[in-house]
């Protein structure tokens, strides 16, 4: 039994020996594409002069929007329409006449290699008439100018959800607080950028595309539509992918359309490998949001009414719709019962890179809002911060708990299972919450400043609509599993093999898994929203069950036994309690496919003169082969949850911030592979720490991204990430056969909330915007000293003694 075991990953031997195959490792002889990108945040293109580029050696082609024929020249699709997104706008693959952010592609160059393509791109002169840029939420709201001429107020979407009567609830509440909270921009920033490699087969009229994507099936659909090809003439493969974290779920990227299009036009292989600078200015960002909170509560800190208004900066276009603010609005509630709740968001255009989900997808902002609110209430009432949380938690007996809202999948937000109070107890124990006062006192005696914080979240995972799995046992006994969704390092080849091996009763060594290859599995949605284990895991389990059933039926015929009396152990079907009566699965596989021709010895056993059976029955029952396909489509999402706690130290002189301890408790239902889940948590926490203390996209008023490099966009190194202490709980999900919940995004969600809380506790100064740098903390201290920044009531270690 391998399900639930922390087995080593099966993809590792390949990856640690340099045998991984990422997009740029393929197509050695392909032509290379490069792009001329806008240096302006907002401008009208007045001319494109390519003359100087023409004599670059090795140049093959130059394309501008004018060259794009058919549907290729049309705007890219709006992937997730929503009734509230009244003014959705998407870009053209190459800018048509107006550029709306620095980095927008204007000209495509194809040359013998990337060096030459860049040489040519550098010599192309594009002239622009600059237009006033809109940068930042305030600027967008004040709207003296527009990102899109036909979008008044720069408002792309506006949505209100309400349960109960918030005005009345807050009006009647004994205590009311009102404040603003901000989160800045960050980005997924996988170490492998995007990449597309296309091969056109003119004889066959077919296209093969390799893309570093989180959804190969949907890229295929998009390319087929854009290029006017039947879907079955397009194959899309996501090979090894060097991280995604959300940005690679967006599709089709302009390059995903242009590269195959050029490959077909030129009759040559074409490849584009995004470089880091391109990734900063032409992929996607996330997180920037402003939240205005009004909350009413009773003397114990119980929420009576919560009113949140959100301004979301979605950048220049909305290809991925308004998923991020929808998730913030709904997931903000976390493990709590809010009383009456009203949330309203306005999603705004700015002349910056588009905003699409980055691991956590709006939840870190939501958790920041809710958890800062809890801390604020505790401070106002002089209560312990965990006590305030405690009175608001949903109790175990209240599941399924209906929050009364509509979630990102269009379904009601109903939590399926969990035990929040128990987790709160355990996280307090793990971090030593109750003993912290003594620790602080001792630190203070040594002139040190420390603080503790805690934050909770609930994460809807495994959103639909569906995923599928295919399982086939071949005549050598090998098990081939495939699913359409893709992998970016989550270890799917291991966990899906664990699922299949457990369901089938075969050794895991016999199982191979293929993901994200439309040649193997054409129907899928994609990898996002912590859905792979839930969706494909269950689909594969169901498919494996079908195969098992079929295997038992055929083996039953061969062994002349009732299939119900059979079991499969180590790849052999045998009669329970009679190991002698057995037949290996490989033989069952042979028998499942009645043959006329014997192409090898195994096949001889299945030819027409070899097999017996009644001459009156047809040789084949059902379908040939020992294979099965099934799909899993959940009624709604399943809700994982967790709580993080951290102790930080702030330097009284330099304002440097150091995380002394970071503890995580989480519950993602049944664990298929605890080690892989733990790895996901570690990675998420590191990104949470990055988002809290280091990473931000710094735009100037002109819309120039000032830190478009790893030198200045500060992702944490090993020296910046604390050791993470973890604890697990396992509350099975009642919604799916495996009882699992998603785990991919969990680690990142409460990062900013928990670090902000701990810093606030250390400093006694309210922390209302994240990330926070030492420079900002220094200025907060100054502001607090002069009465400009607000102090908390419990004035932290910094209190004058």
């Amino acid at each position: 039994m391998t399900f639930g075991e922390p087995i080593a990953r099966r993809e590792d031997p390949r990856l640690v020996t340099g045998q991984g195959r990422y997009v740029d490792d393929l197509g050695r002889d392909a032509l290379a594409a490069a792009f001329v990108r806008s240096p302006h945040a907002h401008a009208r293109i007045t001319g494109i002069d390519v003359d100087d580029a023409l004599d670059v050696d090795g140049l093959v082609a130059i394309y501008t929007w004018e060259d794009l024929d058919g549907r290729v020249g049309e705007p890219l699709p709006l992937l997730i329409p929503h009734p509230a997104l009244t003014h959705g706008r998407t870009a053209h693959p190459l800018a048509r006449d107006v550029v709306r952010h620095v980095g927008e592609a204007v000209v495509m160059v194809v040359a013998r290699d990337r060096y030459l393509a860049e040489d040519a791109a550098e010599r192309i002169r594009v002239t622009y008439e600059p237009l006033p840029p809109v940068v930042g939420v305030e600027n967008a709201v004040n709207a003296s100018c527009r990102v899109h001429d036909d979008v008044p107020g720069n408002v792309g979407a506006h949505l209100v959800q309400e349960t109960g009567d918030v005005s009345a609830a807050i009006g009647a509440a004994p205590h009311v607080l009102e404040f603003r909270l901000d989160i800045e921009r960050s980005a997924s920033m996988p170490l492998e950028g995007r990449g597309v490699y296309a091969r056109w087969d003119a004889d066959d009229g077919s296209l093969r595309v390799y893309s570093s994507t989180q959804t190969s099936t949907s890229v295929r659909m998009a390319i087929a539509v854009k290029l006017g090809l039947p879907a079955n003439k397009v194959e899309v493969i996501a090979p090894d992918v060097g991280g995604g974290f959300g940005v690679k779920i967006v599709h089709p990227w302009p390059e995903e359309v242009l590269v195959p299009w050029a490959a077909r036009l030129l009759g040559r292989e074409v490849k584009w490998t995004e470089d880091r600078r391109e990734h900063f200015v032409s992929a996607a960002h996330e997180r920037a949001q402003v939240h205005h909170v009004r909350v009413g509560f009773d003397d114990e800190g119980r929420l009576l009414g919560l009113d949140v208004r959100i301004q979301h900066d979605h950048g220049a276009y909305t290809p991925y719709g308004i998923i991020v603010p929808i998730i913030t609005s709904t997931q903000l509630l976390g493990p709590y019962k809010p009383g009456a709740y009203r949330v309203e968001f306005t999603s705004l255009y700015t002349n910056t890179v588009i905003v699409t989900p980055y691991r956590g997808a709006g939840r870190p902002q939501g958790a920041f809002c809710m958890e800062r609110t809890m801390d604020r209430i505790a401070d106002e009432l002089g209560l312990d911060r965990t006590a305030v949380r405690e009175v608001n938690l949903i109790r175990p007996e209240e599941f399924p708990y209906d929050q009364g809202l509509i979630f990102q999948d269009g379904r009601p937000l109903i939590y399926d299972s969990g035990d929040y109070p128990e987790m709160l107890r355990r996280i307090k124990e793990l971090i030593g919450w109750d003993g912290f006062a003594a620790f602080r006192a001792e630190a203070e005696r040594a002139g040190r400043r420390v603080g503790i914080g805690l934050a909770c979240y609930v994460e809807g995972t495994g959103v639909g609509p569906y995923e599928g799995g295919h399982v086939e046992i071949d005549s050598s006994g090998r098990v081939h599993v495939s699913t359409g969704l893709t992998s970016q390092g989550q270890g799917h080849q291991t966990v899906f093999a664990q699922v299949a091996a457990a369901e089938l009763g075969v050794p895991i060594e016999d199982v191979t898994v293929t993901t994200g290859d439309t040649r193997r599995f054409g129907y899928a949605v994609g990898t996002f929203a912590s859905r792979a284990a839930v969706m494909s895991g269950n689909a594969i389990a169901l498919a494996a069950r079908k195969v098992r059933e079929k295997a038992l039926r055929i083996a039953g015929e061969a062994l002349e036994a009732d299939p119900r009396d059979l079991e499969i152990v180590d790849g052999v079907v045998r009669v329970k309690g009679n190991a002698a009566a057995s037949i290996p699965l490989r033989t069952v596989a042979v028998l499942s496919n009645p043959l006329r021709y014997a192409f090898d010895e195994a096949a001889q056993q299945a030819t027409q003169f070899a097999v017996g059976g009644s001459p009156d029955d047809p040789p084949l029952t059902g379908e040939p082969g020992l294979e099965g396909r099934d799909y899993y489509s959940p009624p709604r999402s399943t809700f994982a949850y967790g709580m993080h706690a951290a102790i930080v130290e702030t330097d009284p002189d330099t304002a440097e911030i150091r995380i002394l301890r970071y503890a995580v408790l989480h519950d993602c239902g049944r664990l298929i592979n605890p080690r892989i889940v733990e790895g996901q948590i570690h990675g998420g926490v590191a990104q949470g720490v990055g988002g809290a203390l280091y990473e931000r996209m710094v735009y100037d008023a002109e819309g120039q991204l000032l830190n478009a490099s790893f030198m200045d966009f500060l992702m944490p190194y090993a020296t910046e990430v604390p050791r993470i202490e973890t604890g697990h709980m396992e509350t099975a999900s009642p919604l799916n056969p495996l009882g699992v919940k998603g785990a991919g995004e969990a680690g990142v969600i409460p990062g900013s909330a928990v670090i902000a809380a701990a810093i606030e506790d250390a400093e006694g100064i309210r922390i209302t915007r994240m990330p926070i740098s030492p420079s900002e903390l220094y200025h907060l201290r100054l502001a607090a000293a002069s009465g400009v920044a607000e102090r908390t009531n419990r004035a932290g270690s910094a209190s004058p003694s």
């Binding site: 640690v16 060096y115 170490l191 992918v241 880091r276 790895g679 570690h682 990675g683 190194y717 680690g747």
Partner: protein, 161 residues
Amino acid sequence: MTREISLNVNGVPRTASAEPRRLLSDFLRHDLGLTGTHVGCEHGVCGCCTVLFDGEPVRSCLMFAVTAAGHEVTTVEGLGADGGMSPVQRAFSECHGLQCGFCTPGFLCTVTALLRDNPRPSEDEVLEGISGNLCRCTGYQNIVKAVHRAADLIAEERTDR
């Protein structure tokens, strides 16, 4: 303007022609077909492209192939003896020290040299040793664990011999 560039890669003399501006990373990947060396930033920060140059870890995106001519380069493909896995490679796999695997070759080369020079690094020495390599997936904790584990494996191998 291309020229013949010869160097010794993973113990094998290799020659290919390339322009003087060809980065060593591109030369290894695209001219010699050794795609295990990855490229994540091309400005020296991420460490994905780290290879051993005359035994010392360096950024192959910050060196021209012409400069490397005549020298010895070891890439991730050459770390294990006889196509097997080196102790460092085994340790990364055992400790779940990788997820997407994109940063991994750079870490493996860096750690291989680190443990050669310092077979029993302290926790701080490990952190310092890998401090120039970014990983976006693992949060580093299992990488640090893998470095200590690799130190054990190397020590075991020594006593076995």
